[in-house]
Amino acid sequence: MNTEVIIVGGGIIGCAAAYNLAKNGVSVLVLEGSENIGNGGSTRNGGGVRQSGRDPRELPLVMYAIKNIWPNLSDMLETNVEYYQEGNLRLGSTPEHQKILEGLTARAAACGLDVKMISGDEARAINPYLSDAVTCASWCPTDGHANPLTATMGYYKMARRLGAHFISDEKVTELRKIKGKVRQVITASGNVYEADTIILAAGYESRFIADTVGIDIPMQPVLLETLVTEAVAPMFWQMLGTAAADFYGHQTEHGSFVFGLNSGLEPYAKPGKPVSSSIAASAACRGIMNYFPSLKNIKVVRTWAGWMDSCADHVPVISTVDEVPGLILACGFTGHGFGIAPAVGLVLSQLAMGQETAVDLSALRYNRFN
């Protein structure tokens, strides 16, 4: 099979890139190693579309996405991605938290972001369900959240409709250079696919695939855990986070709450199939109830876990590779790939088409670790 672009990895990054390429009439093939499209972090995250708290190097991507893509994404994908731009509250209850939040706020404001420190009372004015434990918060009114499941599947649906070819259960094991240019993609089932350009967006697996053409991206798998509750009547629409980073999340349009968890033990999870820990949800519930006592009777219906590709410096690699012409890397998203995915999909298509990218990607080059 011969196409112009092969995308390795059918997560939201791969699907969004495929969508943008297909829309421009580029023939594209997406190879997904697992059975399901969007099987990794794409569908296992808290759904944040945040600018606040982001590393300045990836901030331009999310600002671009929030300004130009997220507001129209539901129409574009003919899928309700449940995007709500109702602000982000990052909560704190101790002087240490205040210090952390002030640092984050100062750095983001320096990048031109509309974010500020507010008092506990101001936070409670924005979200009346907050407890008195909250003494400080950072507030970014242009942040928001969306539904990672429908956004991922929506990109997939529209890319497919526009002619992008998808094959799942087709695990890529090797890339091969032909006459100095990466050209072939070889899979575990023995199939060989060829393309002019290959985008590697396979999460942590990307590390082993890139290795076959002599490239290493320093990242490691870290477990991500999430819980979701029953649906209740709408309470608030802000995205939430904490200075201690013990939980983050929001109430969805459906009425359920989605919270990302952090028990601190995630980096030590055993390799293999991602498995929820027996204590993370309980720990998160204590943290959530401390700030939101009125959620104490809400029922948790499901927890799930996934691997994220945690990069050495916590921002992704989105880059062409000088010494491997034809290869484009898109990995190491470190658990914050969702909010920037629409912009990443766009710039990846631009890289593949040899166009100037909508956002400057020089800080996300692959060779920054050298």
């Binding site: 498995v275 929820s276 027996s278 204590i279």
Partner: protein, 528 residues
């Protein structure tokens, strides 16, 4: 963290049986169950079970549950009710919700015995209040004493549909019809017959077209289906009902196995998504076992034996019993299990069309199509004889693993032999004393005592009777035939109840003698 030798999820027949065997070997065992009462579905089973003595045959399901529970308690098994196993994590860590907190416990071995959940079918109106699962009907009437409805249509002719139809009538509901899309009755013929003779019409090859009603069910329309399961226009029939009961099969409730990481398979022979287990019930994860319906839908009797085997296997694993002794015990259980897995309804026979019994007698086609054996078919079965005077008439026409009638007769009139699935035969050489033990012992209510000619132009028929109000001697009414049609007038000649009969009364009715082999049920009728 608290640690047990064996943690069992589910205090049903499999879980309790495993607990008993493990505890007998000296293991420290805890059983968690989310219900307020232990026993799983056994506590809703008020009918007598099939099998032989070692399978607890002719004992009612809920009594079996009580016996298992008492035995487990005597052996020091900790049974924790109202406790929900919410997760099974690596290192055999279990999280359990108990009261208002969550406990973390570990087991050196784990048994998952979470049972099954009911399948459902869709049709217009299937979400209306009044459309319920057959299990829901059982829960309401047999656990809580609440009538599920006044007029009920049952969908499903498997054993659950048949047994629950009978239970609905025992509780005081009217079962207006029993429908099934399949062309043949799926459950035991004897269960079908006891429902049919009460006057419930069977509609095979029929499915529900719609449930009618605005806020709740007020009626149901069924229709005949063609080979492609499409309703044939013009065959629709309407019934005024307030309840539609769905009994369309069970699926293993195996989520916990899947979460634990056990290797799973979708196995139609086991009725769904089940963990792969070896002959001891051990899953792909060493030390994690599964037994009962969770590893493949079968009868409660089989679940109990599977549980015992898993319990013994866990004891071998942890060195509480030597491998040699344990294997010997397991071999005994396997023999008992093989006994149950025989006959026309054995797991391996699913979907097979059977035309003859093991004895070479043609199967009653009327039984499969209409739920009762036709008059011209009944004579060919070995349980039917025409001796002078009182004698048993055994209308047991399919090979099922059950033999209490053979043991019940003090005069050895009834012969099944070593092969537990053989059709019972009446030995005319032996004299029947009319004690009725066979009638009360038959879990299928398929045995009658008949005196075909009392000398005065009448015949006397003694039948099992499990309804209230219990008719009294001298009550006049009508006799119903196997189809449930009124065939003649009848008078109650005797009603016997005894502890040994276990709530099955023996009702003797007098009918004109030409109805001796036709009349099979009595209904008291108010004089018109």
């Amino acid at each position: 963290m608290k640690r047990y030798d064996l943690i069992i999820a589910g205090a049903g027949p499999a879980g309790l049986s495993a607990a008993i065997e493990a505890a007998k070997c000296g293991m420290k065992v805890v059983v968690y169950d989310e219900n307020a009462r232990p026993g799983g579905q056994l506590f809703k089973q008020i009918h007598k079970f099939f099998g032989s003595k070692e399978h607890k045959a002719k004992i009612r399901g809920f009594h079996i549950g009580e016996e298992l529970l008492a035995e487990a308690a005597d052996l020091g098994v900790e049974v924790v009710l109202n406790s929900v196993v919410i997760g099974l994590f690596p290192e055999k860590e279990v999280t359990v919700k108990i009261d208002n907190h969550v406990e973390h416990v570990k087991g050196d071995t784990i048994l998952i015995a979470t049972g099954a959940s009911e399948n459902m079918v869709t049709f217009p109106g299937w979400t209306l209040p009044g459309v319920i699962g057959a299990g829901a009907a059982q829960t309401m009437m047999n656990l809580h004493g609440i009538l599920p409805g006044k007029k009920v249509l049952m969908l499903g002719s498997g054993n659950v549909g048949l047994v629950v139809s009978f239970q609905l009538m025992q509780a005081g509901c009217e079962v207006v019809a029993l429908a099934d899309a399949a062309p043949r009755v799926g459950g035991y013929g004897v269960h079908a017959s006891k429902v049919a003779r009460c006057g419930v019409p069977f509609y095979l090859s029929h499915t529900i077209v719609s449930a009618d009603g605005c806020d709740h069910v007020t009626g149901v329309t069924i229709g005949e289906v063609d080979k492609n399961w499409n309703v044939i226009p013009g065959t629709e029939k309407h019934f005024d009902v307030d309840t539609i009961c769905l009994a369309v099969g069970l699926s293993p409730m195996s989520k916990l196995c899947d979460m634990a990481g056990c290797e799973m398979e979708d196995n139609p022979a086991k009725a769904g998504f089940v963990p792969k287990v070896d002959e001891f019930g051990e899953t792909s994860i060493p030390g994690i076992y599964a037994a009962g319906d969770v590893s493949g839908i079968e009868e409660a009797s089989s679940a109990m034996i599977e549980g015992r085997i898993a319990g013994i296997a866990a004891a071998i694993r942890l060195g509480y019993i030597s491998e040699a002794d344990g294997k010997e015990k397991i071999a005994e259980q396997e023999a008992a299990l093989n006994g149950l897995r025989q006959g026309m309804f054995a797991p391996g026979m699913r979907g097979k069309m059977i035309t003859e019994t093991e004895e070479g007698v043609s199967i009653s086609q009327n039984l499969l199509k209409h739920g009762f054996v036709a008059d011209d078919e009944i004579e060919r079965f070995p349980g039917i004889t025409h001796s002078k005077g009182i004698h048993p008439v055994i209308e047991c026409t399919q090979n099922i693993p059950c033999n209490p009638c053979q043991d019940a007769c003090p005069k050895h009139c009834i012969k099944i032999g070593k092969n537990i699935t053989a059709l019972p035969a009446v030995d005319e050489e032996q004299e029947c004393i009319g004690c009725g033990m066979c009638v009360a012992s038959c879990s299928g209510q398929a045995i009658f005592l008949v005196n075909e000619d009392c000398g005065d132009g009448t015949a006397e028929i003694t039948l099992p009777y499990e309804f209230l109000p219990l008719p009294k001697k001298g009550d006049k009414g009508v006799a119903l035939n196997r189809k449930g049609e009124q065939v003649c007038s009848a008078e109650v000649a005797d009603v016997r109840s005894a502890k040994a009969f276990d709530h099955t009364s023996l009702l003797t009715m007098k009918v004109p003698k030409e109805y001796a082999m036709k009349a099979r049920f009595f209904r008291k009728e108010e004089a018109v």
